[in-house]
Every structure is written in C-alpha cells, then in structure tokens.
C-alpha cells in the first residue's frame, strides 16, 4: 500500500519534470515533537502531506495515523484534537488553540506541553 511519503515523492518528481506545481498540490508541513510526544514517538520531527486547506484537526488525524502511539497521551482518542495537557504552536511564534485553523505549506507545527511551569 502506498504511503503519504510515496505520494510526496511522486508529486515531487512530476513537479521537477514539468517545472511547475500541479493542481491540488498537497500541503507539506513539518511537525516538531517536544517532551512526552518526542519520547513516545522516538523522533523529533515528522513530515506530513496534507490536502489543500487542511486544518490542524486534519493534521492531528494524519499524525495519529503515522504515530498511533501518540493517541490518548498526546492526541485525543478521537484523533481530531490534542489531548488535555498538550498545546500547539505554529512556526515557533503563534500558539493556536483552534483546531479548525488552516495549515499552510511549509508550516512547522510544534506539539508541546501546555504547561510551561518550571
């Protein structure tokens, strides 16, 4: 079965051949994992290809499919939002609470603890 990474590579090949972007280009973004998410996933970053106009909710779903270990602890059991205790920041600048917020191509989505106490 093809994985999102297979599609990503295939689309990239067509792009290179044609010299322009094809219609319905998927949105490429990177998820950066911190704290518990990183320890559970045993990785710091993961690339995701999402449909155009994808929302954070869809990103969480895609992430949950790629890393099922995160479901329950980091991503809610419904896989459409973060679990309580986790927060999301886009590009290191903006904390986003609304899961319907759109993901833009090239976004780096940080998943971290919602509690910054130290």
């Amino acid at each position: 079965m093809n994985t999102p990474d297979d599609y990503e590579r295939a689309l990239q090949r067509w792009e290179e051949l044609n010299g322009h972007k094809i219609k319905n280009d998927p949105v490429q973004c990177t998820v950066e994992l911190f704290g518990m998410a990183q320890l559970l996933a045993k990785t710091k970053t993961i690339s995701l290809a999402l449909p155009q106009d994808a929302t954070l909710s869809q990103l969480f779903f895609a992430l949950a499919e790629r890393l099922p270990i995160l479901v329950g602890r980091v991503i809610s059991p419904e896989m459409n939002k973060l679990a309580s205790g986790c927060a999301c920041n886009v590009n290191g600048l903006e904390f986003v609470r609304n899961p319907t917020a759109k993901v833009k191509a090239g976004d780096k989505v940080l998943i971290l603890s919602a509690d910054a106490g130290g």
Binding site: G92, G117, G118
Partner: protein, 616 residues
C-alpha cells in the same frame, strides 16, 4: 477550630525563651496559611525599616490548612522574612515531610527572632522547645546536618530544615533546605545564618481536626486521579527540564546573561536528551502523586536532582553546555545551600563583566562563558565568602554597585532578585509579572507566562490589558500558596476557586465562597505591596533591567522583537489600574478599606500605610 491549631510559637534566640500565642481565626480566614499567613505576620512582627540581618527581623515558618489532610501535593510550608537580597518581602515555599511534621507540632507558625550567641539548632518535640549547641554542625551541608541531628537524638524520623555553609556566611541568596527541597529564593538561609541558627529539628504528634474527613477523602481520591492524567504528563514523565528545548525553539531561553535568547548547544542539555542519557530515577515529595522530581546520574554515578531553573541558570545562562558540569554545579549549590537561579545569574553577570574588562579578578579566576571550571571553582568561594566570592555572595545588584561602570546594566535582576529562565522580551505578559512582583523577578508568585504560552494573547505584543491578566494570576497564585496546593496540580482543577473553596470549607467548617477566596488572594497580594511600601519601595522598583528595554531579542524565531520602556509603562499603568492602586503604584485608603486592611490610626493622621492588623 478545624484545620488549624490557632497557635503561634515565638522563639527569641537572644534570650533563649519561647512563648505561644493565640492566632485568631479572623486572621487565618483573612490570610489562610502559607505565604498569606506569613505575609500578614511579617507585616506585624517586622519592625518598620528593620535591617534583614538584624536580630529583630523575624524568620517566619508557616503551615497551612490543607497540609496533612492527605490531599495530593499539599505537604508544603512557607518561609517568610525580610529578604537580604531585595530589602522587601522574601517569601519561599518548600515541601515534603518537614511540612507534615511542622503541622504536627501543634502550632500554625514559628516566628523566630533574636540572635544566638553561638551557632545553635532548635529542637521542637512534644510541645517543648530546646535550643541546643550546633558548633559540631558548622560547615555541614543540610543533608549532613539532618543525619547528624538524627544520630545525636537517636531519632531516625525527626525532620530537619537547615542551612549550609552559604547560610552560615550570610550569602544573600542562601537557602533553607530539607530533604533535598529548598526554600530557595530571596535569601531566607542568610537570615537564618544571621541568627546563628543552623537548623530546626521537629517532631510532633498533634494533628488538627478536620471538619469533614469523609468529604475530604472523596475529593482527595478525585484529585489524585486527575493528577495522574495527561494534564501532568510533563511533570511525571520528564520533569520541568522539559522546558529547555521548547523555550529554545520559541526563542525565549536566556543564554549568556540574556545576551542571547537561544542556546546553540541546547540539544545537549534538553530534558529529552537528559532523560535518554542521564536519567537515574523519579522521586516525589510526601503526599504527592505527581512526583515531578527527576534525578540524573553524573559521570561518577552520583544522583542529582535537576529542575529547569537550575539547568537554565547553571547551563545556558553561563554558556555551559556539558550536562556533567551542570549536574556538578547543582550538587555544589545544594550542598552549600544556595539558590541556583541567583547563583547562575550572579556568575553570568561576573562573566560578562570579565568579558568587558570590568572585573579582572573574575577573568583571572576563569569565569568565562562556556567554561565549566570557572563556575565549579566559584561556587565554593561564594559559599565561604572568600576572595572574589565575597563580592559575588552579595548578588548581582550589590556587586554591580560596587564594581561600577556599566556593570549595573548587565545585572539581570528585579528589586535585586535575579531573573528566572523565561525571556521577558518574548513573553510580554511575563515581563509585566516580573516587573511588578513584590518579591522581585519571580515566576512563581504569578504565572503570568501562562497567558503568553496559551495563545490567549500575542506573546510578542503588549497592551494595557496585560495588567488584568497579571493581577488575576497573582491572586490565584497567592491562594494556591496559602492553602497550600502545589502549582503543578493547578491544571487539574476545572473551576479552581469553587473547588478550592469547597476543599477549604470541608477542612475548616467555614462557609468561604469562591469570590471570598478570590478576595483573599487580592488581600495577600496587596499586603505584600504594603509591606514593601513601608520598607521603602519606590515606583522605579517596579521595573526591568536596562538590557531588556534597550536591546531587541538577539536570536531565535522572534529575533528583533523588542520591549520598549513605553510598552512596559503602559502595561504597568494597566496593572495599577486593575489593582486599584494610584498612578504611582501606592495602595490608597479606598483599597485598604475594601480589603478590610485599614484601621484608622489612633493619632488621627491619615496615611496610605495600613496599621497593624490588630483586627485579625
């Protein structure tokens, strides 16, 4: 009375006498316990203008209504005094078994005044107070002191809070330590040392009655369950060291004495890396289900507790990237009894001075950013006030005043208390919280940074509305610190004031409402300001170090973002307005009346200063 003993134990070390006094229920209801009760007692027991090292400066230990109830995270106690670092209120919390034992002594507070003729320790056992010679304990670490006292008394369960060498030498940021926990910020250990008091050993058997023990048990079970949910995952599974990598990514990790807002070698020191490479075991305070403490192994196999603030202050702030060096520096601070934030902050200041040619002694000593040998050699001489250490033992503000030149511009403190590991230029609500905090640059007496990390506000922008957020956060923290409930449990409440009022009522039998509890928080906070006002606070004390207002964020995702004096002024204005203070930050009579803090002075002279809380 339920939940409290209604008693205060005063010990005068000069005369060696002790006496018990009634603590009126009205005072306890107005200020609760912990930091609130301590603030109220400090106001009354400290003579106006008292020098922090004067025998008259009271060193106050307080218990709290929830302590000993079995509720998770409540085994805590307060230590309150006039800080030798700031000259204002110094209020700290520590925790674990000493807190439980303090509650069992049969009093809600110890007020220690005077000065012993030679080094002593206080033994409180079976309602008796004994002042014992401590000459043989001189030079011992807090842990060694507890072991020695236990052996001497043949009592393996007696609980001890002690100072280390730094406290004996009145290092202005010395701690009072028990069981590896510390009343850390503001130098309470130096005040204890100034009284020639090495330790307090306690053993008690008096447990105050709880009004509704069945009701408490139900809530205790519920809270314990919540404390084991994903809401506390960070604390339970990585600990506070998890902050480092996140703060670095967000460009709010202070490094090289706040000359950088990221650290190139953060990866090596991140909580995630340490968890993989150096983790030894997890530990917790008494009565705590979260068990946030992480102990890490050093190269020689020794275990050392490490928190984010220690990691930041002895790591990136000093340019140190080697985990082993940070662990060793943390161990030294614990052994000598020194606040790691102020230690790191003062060392980083000295490093910058050395770099810029203002403190050749520091340069000769090897105090340079990134050189572990420098800090490892400097910590012992600070604790013993030897050579250069005597200057650094004064903290960055006083040391800078002595050195002169531009060095005050590099002393990163508020009111004399060194800044914690949150970069104010990239967390603007926090910036305001630090500036107006009565105890100085403190991230614990308000959680102002929470607004910045929540997405409720833009952390890189400022507006006058931040004042309301900071005030609310301060009141909330004051209630937590006075009940006492650990802040790491805070997210487990869905309606904090409602649930906390229910808890308090089931313990005490009172009918305290959520709004009354909120007002108590405000009363505590305003009383802190009143104390500071009486001790010489000026509007310019609510301010930030020059660097933060003149240099934009130097590195990271928010590079170039600045915090201007105009922005800070506007936020402060909003804070004073929300607090009901006048435009200069003074507490007006109207506010005193509103919070029932005002009693008309007998001499008929109207004053903005509260009179003694005789009504409580």
């Amino acid at each position: 009375m339920y939940g409290f003993h209604g008693r205060l134990l005063q010990i005068d070390l000069t005369s060696g006498k002790s006496s018990q006094h009634e603590l009126q229920e009205s005072r306890l209801r107005a200020f609760l316990g912990g930091i609130g009760l301590g603030t109220s007692l400090l106001y009354d027991y400290a003579p106006p203008g008292v020098e922090p090292f004067s025998p008259d400066n009271p060193l106050i230990f307080t218990s709290a209504p929830l302590v000993g109830t079995g509720l998770t995270t409540t085994a805590k106690f307060g230590v309150i005094t006039k800080s030798p670092l700031t000259g204002f209120i110094g209020d700290s919390l520590s925790s674990s078994h000493f807190a439980l034992e303090l509650k069992r002594t049969g009093v809600d507070s110890l007020v220690i005044t005077g000065q012993a003729a030679s080094l002593v320790y206080i033994l409180i056992s079976d309602q008796k107070v004994e002042i014992r010679d401590a000459a043989h304990l001189r030079g011992k670490s807090p842990n060694e002191t507890q072991a020695a006292i236990r052996a001497e008394l043949n009592s393996p369960t007696i609980r001890v809070a002690a100072i280390g060498v730094a406290g004996e030498h009145r290092v202005r940021f010395a701690t009072i330590s028990n069981e590896g926990r510390h009343a850390g910020r503001g130098g309470a250990g130096a005040v204890m040392g100034s009284k020639n008091l090495k330790a307090i050993a306690i053993c008690g058997d008096r447990v105050p009655l709880v009004c509704d023990s069945d009701g408490i048990a139900v809530i205790a079970t519920r809270l314990r369950q919540r404390s084991l949910s994903s809401l506390t995952d960070k604390y339970r599974n990585i600990g506070t060291v998890a902050n480092l990598a996140v703060f670095n990514r967000l460009g709010v990790l202070p490094a090289h004495n706040f000359q950088q807002s990221t650290f190139d070698d953060a990866e090596a020191l991140s909580g995630e890396t340490l968890s993989e490479t150096n983790f030894a075991r997890r530990h917790g305070c008494a009565s705590c289900s979260i068990r946030c403490e992480r102990l890490f192994k050093s190269l020689n196999g020794e275990e050392q507790r490490l928190e984010y603030e220690t990691l930041f202050a002895l790591g990136p702030l000093c340019g140190i990237k080697e985990p082993e060096a940070v662990l060793q520096a943390a161990r030294l601070c614990d052994q000598y009894g020194m606040d790691t934030i102020s230690t790191g902050g003062t060392l980083a200041w000295a490093m910058e001075c050395a770099e810029k040619g203002l403190l050749p002694e520091a340069q000769n000593f090897g105090l340079c950013f990134g050189r572990p040998e420098g800090i490892l050699s400097a910590i012992p001489i600070i604790a013993a006030r030897q050579g250069l250490g005597a200057l650094l033992a004064e903290g960055s503000r006083r040391a800078a005043l002595e050195i002169g030149g531009d060095s005050s511009d590099w002393a990163m403190h508020v009111k004399g208390l060194e800044l914690p590991g949150y970069e104010p230029r990239g967390l603007k609500t926090l910036a305001l919280g630090l500036a107006v905090s009565p105890r100085g640059a403190c991230h614990n007496r308000s959680g102002a940074y929470e607004a910045d990390f929540s997405g409720e506000v833009d952390r890189l922008q400022s507006d006058s509305g931040r004042g309301a957020l900071v005030a609310a956060s301060e009141d909330y923290a004051a209630v937590l610190d006075s009940l006492i409930i650990c802040k790491f449990l805070r997210k487990c409440f869905t309606d904090f004031y409602g649930e906390a009022a229910e808890l308090l009522n089931r313990v005490t039998g009172w009918d305290c409402s959520a709004s009354e509890l909120g007002q108590i928080g405000e009363r505590i906070q305003v009383t802190k300001r009143l104390f500071n006002q009486r001790e010489g606070w000026r509007p310019q004390d609510d301010w930030l170090p020059p660097r933060l207002l003149s240099e934009a964020l130097p590195t990271g995702v928010a590079q170039g973002v600045a915090l201007t004096a105009t922005e800070l002024k506007e936020m402060i204005r909003g804070y004073y307005e929300t607090r009901g203070l006048d435009e200069n930050g003074l507490v007006p009579l109207k506010k005193l009346r509103e919070l029932e803090l005002f009693k008309p002075p007998a001499d008929g002279i109207k004053s903005c200063q509260a009179t003694k809380h005789d009504g409580y």
